[in-house]
Symmetry: C2
Subunit: 239 residues, 2 copies
DNA sequence: CGGACAGTTGACCTATTTCAAATGTGGTGG
DNA sequence: CCACCACATTTGAAATAGGTCAACTGTCCG
């Protein structure tokens, strides 16, 4: 059930058998979510964090005028709101983009981990720091990259993150997002996303059609995006 | 020396006398930095985190073409890179914007805190989650707010954060930034920042001159920015 | 077969950028 | 104390990336 989660942790640090058992013991209720359901709302008091088992989800913030910004995408094995353990309530919403399966991890269990499993606590602290690193890279994209670079960069990021859990290879990956979702990730309009995707296709770099990203020229895409995966902290360290 | 830091923690949780002593005992070398010095570079291996005692600093990322995005501003009492404890190296640079004084906190001391002071560890974990919340709000600004809203929003944020440490009131605050720094925060060009500041002045909302922000109409500025401070988590909680 | 979306395209618009030049301003050395 | 230099700020004119509006075309369910 949590193999993708463990794979993600073990890509970054050593997780002992005992720690794996502690993680498994911390899992609570499993829930199924339908696509487009907002399952956590900003300001709600929370007593459990949510781990994504399957599907694609996102964090987003809306402005009073209705403009939406997705602040991060989540793939299987990601915690959607590990930070709700620290924050107790969120400053953003969390939504399923596709049908999803999640499992709850009660904050009480996480408190216990901080009391008795300091190394595992540091690994989970690391996960929240990794989230922040992704946010920073998105700030850079939103603030300083052109439309085509933003989209190319996002695709490069997703290829790596999905690759970690065996859901992407050099040819591409399944991405059940609409162009409008993509516009909310990149701070663009849906119309401009459409034109930019055509541009990427015409340049022979990649194709996003039928909920699938097909990469035709990974090197070219990476170069256009100026993508450097170091912000994803893929090296193993003692945390 | 670390009064601003303690004030910031105590605005969000209860810190016992003992914990305060643990924090004080974790402090290492104090350093003075001149303005415009980059003191931490992306990719460097780090063995201590840095706490800002005095001055204004920032985290920033550069693109190969030279475009810069500042991803967060830091005021006295902020950790500049508490996350380097988890990450071991950073994905961004850290620079002094004014002359600054900082103190190092060795990662070994932080490890010790996670082993022996679980509550304090949770408080520090919270600080990194708060950083991420600020990053998310900046993503929203960069992706979806207009130039004038971005600047107004940033000023509202700074007023609250500086207010927490007694360096701002309703009339304004000292802000020793250039318009060019401001453009790197907001993803705009310096020229447009200049015009937008004039616009804010002409609307009677605020004035940024001579390294000082003077707020003429806080309610109007807040409304224009659609500023809501909940992402700064100012309420006290048991973490 | 129809209805609700998702994607596509064209024409036009505008917020912001770009480029260039002029005008402060604060610090330094003579 | 002044001259000068390096920056920071300000302004104008022209250019453009991306937005807006509106219509048309899939496409997938029910």
């Amino acid at each position: 059930m949590i193999e993708t989660h463990l794979a993600k942790l073990r890509a970054r640090d050593t997780i002992s058998e005992e720690e794996e058992q502690v993680i498994r013991a911390s899992l609570g209720e499993v829930r199924e979510l339908r696509a487009h359901v907002t399952c956590i709302r900003a300001g709600e008091r929370l007593s459990a964090s949510t781990l994504l088992l399957d599907g694609l989800m996102c964090r987003y913030k809306d402005l009073p005028g209705g403009e939406r910004q997705i602040t991060e995408l989540h793939v299987a094995g990601d915690f959607l709101d590990l930070h709700s353990f620290s924050l107790k309530q969120l400053d953003h919403n969390v939504m399923a983009l596709t049908p999803c399966r999640v499992v709850l991890v009660p904050h009480a269990k996480l408190t216990e981990i901080t009391e008795t499993q300091p190394h595992l606590a540091r690994v989970y602290w690391f996960l929240t720091a990794l989230d922040a690193a992704i946010h920073r890279e998105w700030e850079l994209s939103l603030g300083r990259r052109s439309a085509i670079q933003r989209i190319a960069h996002l695709m490069c990021e997703l290829r790596v993150r999905l690759g970690l859990i065996g859901q992407a290879d050099d040819d591409g990956f399944s991405l059940p997002l609409t162009q409008s979702d993509l516009s909310d990730c990149t701070g663009l309009t849906p119309v401009h996303v459409n034109r930019t995707l055509r541009d990427l296709r015409e340049r022979g770099l990649m194709d996003f059609r039928g909920r699938r990203v097909t990469i035709h020229d990974l090197a070219g895409l990476t170069a256009l995006a100026e993508f450097d995966d170091s912000y994803l902290y893929l090296r193993r360290e003692e945390r």
